[in-house]
Symmetry: C2
Subunit: 361 residues, 2 copies
């Protein structure tokens, strides 16, 4: 598909839904993408099956605290410089760009890069949602290395990291980004087309656009956006098990910024009284419990949305008194394997529960 | 000249003298150099005039807290990996290696690298002594950029930094080295032969060797090593203004590790009583005051030495009760220009005094 200027808002809304509360508010990314597309034209989303096995695919992302990017604005050329550094090191040019995560602002920034360079974007990512850490991608679940990894800040400083393992890459990149003021852009996990055919979460860019479009059309035609959203998701290959976990009013938000993460809980009282649903988050929503019983748990997606407009609300936007619905959605099967759960399962976030698929809860 | 295995100890002692209390204890560097030379043979020191103008010269150094290198030992191949990263970025091979600073362990590590690679070492450096920060080199005084700069740790992690200015390069490198455990090796300030002919401090490797040799021969022939050292220095082109600033016993040492630096003061009571000389340091000795009056100040060199053997004592080796002499030595003229004093003068270390040459104090 071709993403046109007028599609950007739908794409951003779908990306916010897939962010599961995290991934950063897509607002800045949307402005950047609209500006880039106004200047450089539409961007093509290419199916991974149409990519050559020996193509060089480079995931791009914003790295750091999502709360910072809205105050310390990117200049727009960071990702290009990061990509150049990677290309110099690898001795070859990228064939196409892809998002590392489809949730939040990180769905949009790789499209900005692709637009500026006139490159296509591969229609897949490494999370099928958003996660807070660099190594929480299907790429590393399948044994690919995060490095060589390039980080560029808005002043044009570029740091290229080659690390012996992804834990070291994460630590070095995290320190670098702190020295850059807690927000920078990275290109990492360079892979071949053949690699991404195995480990990519497929079709997620088109999915984000379709989710955003479904919600908009339902609003415009005065239908219930939630029932249209759920019936759209039920027809998808990966996100078919979905339901409304709560419908009510926010009666408590606890949130603190700790170790560079937004950590906390939100409590929702069911309309009509009684049942309390509590959602616990670390940047992303991790687990939803109703009266103490688990209703959905990471890597399945939990998204809090405005109960009238179905606009997704990121964890930093949660407020006392908001009327919301909480949607739980099955994660793609590639994130639910035993190998994947070692990297993105509940224990990786310090939770005491094991993963249970949403359809069994 | 050719540095042979049996010359290493003299070379290391002279480097410790030029370290002016800092630059790291050369002990680990000496062991590494002896091992490298036993395996790979002697290393040639080449006069800068014998280097082609278009040669690629790469300064190498240990970066971080000198106190850490003695606990977290290098594996010996770090500098090679850092150099490789730089060469890949620049698209050409280094012609020769040089020290960024001739003081302390950093005089020896570039010779280890050269020995392992069979490359010559240029007989000059960027400080003519030791300084605590990356940009405190004649290279930056003459407008050369610290980056591209490569940092490698003992695990083999490599970080290549290209920064818009040297302050950013220093900050990014400092954060990187902290993430690597506060000690790593760097290659930086890649320059041409023509550049180094203008900005290098000349003949400092031979100088370090001659200083160490002079002290050893004086000891062996039961002469006073201090009078031989001073008369040797008086005959050199750059270090000719020198004197004994204090001769006594250490009665107080205050030292703390702050922001990755060893910061503190040492007090020496003159033999025969009365006069107290206080030396203030930040890794290197910065200023010596006798009864409150400045006797020598950075960039001139202040070195505390054992009063019997004339073995230089680094700031981390200072202890209560040690009997010492403190030697003050003029810095090379290239460090005393108004431009240089903006980079390595007293104000750069937070001191309230302006620079006064030792010969006027």
């Amino acid at each position: 598909m071709k993403l046109e200027l007028e599609d950007v808002e739908d794409f951003a809304r779908g990306a916010a839904f897939l962010g599961a509360g995290g991934g950063g508010d897509p607002y800045i990314g949307r402005l950047m993408l609209e500006q880039a597309m106004a200047q450089f034209g539409p961007v093509t989303f290419v199916d991974i099956e149409d990519i050559d096995d020996d193509a060089l695919l480079v995931p791009a992302a914003m790295f750091g605290a999502p709360t910072v990017i809205v105050e310390k604005l990117p200049n727009g050329s960071e990702a290009e410089k990061a990509l150049q550094a990677l290309e110099t090191f690898l001795g070859r040019k990228a064939t196409a760009i892809m998002p590392a995560e489809i949730g939040g602002v990180n769905a949009l920034l790789p499209v900005v890069l692709a637009s500026r360079l006139g490159l296509p974007v591969v229609d897949c990512d490494g999370m099928g949602r958003a996660f807070p850490e660099l190594q929480m991608v299907t790429f590393s679940i399948f044994g690919h290395s995060a490095s060589p990894l390039a980080v560029t800040d808005e002043a044009g400083n570029t740091v290229l990291i080659t690390a012996r393992n992804d834990a070291d890459a994460e630590r070095l990149a995290r320190h670098t980004v702190l020295a850059m003021g807690a927000s920078a852009q990275i290109c990492c996990y360079p892979m071949s087309g053949a690699d991404v055919k195995v480990c990519g979460v497929r079709g997620t860019l088109t999915l984000a656009f379709e989710i955003g479009r479904t919600i908009r059309i339902a609003r415009e035609s005065h239908k219930d956006p939630f029932s249209d959203l759920l019936s759209y998701l039920e027809r998808t290959e990966y996100y078919g098990k979905c339901k409304i976990l709560a419908d009510g009013r926010i009666i408590d938000v606890r949130r603190e910024t700790r170790m560079g993460f937004a950590i906390g809980t939100v409590k929702i009282e069911q309309t009509g009284g009684g049942r309390i649903t509590e959602v616990q988050f670390q940047n992303e929503n991790l687990v939803a419990r109703s009266d103490g019983q688990v209703k959905a748990i990471v890597p399945d997606l939990i998204t809090v949305m405005d109960r009238e407009t179905a606009e997704p609300i990121t964890t930093e936007g949660l407020k006392f008194g908001q009327r919301v619905k909480v949607i739980g959605t099955s994660a793609p099967p590639i994130l639910r394997t035993p190998e994947a759960l070692k990297v993105v399962g509940p224990r990786c976030f310090g939770l005491d529960e094991d993963f249970s698929p949403i359809e069994t809860l």
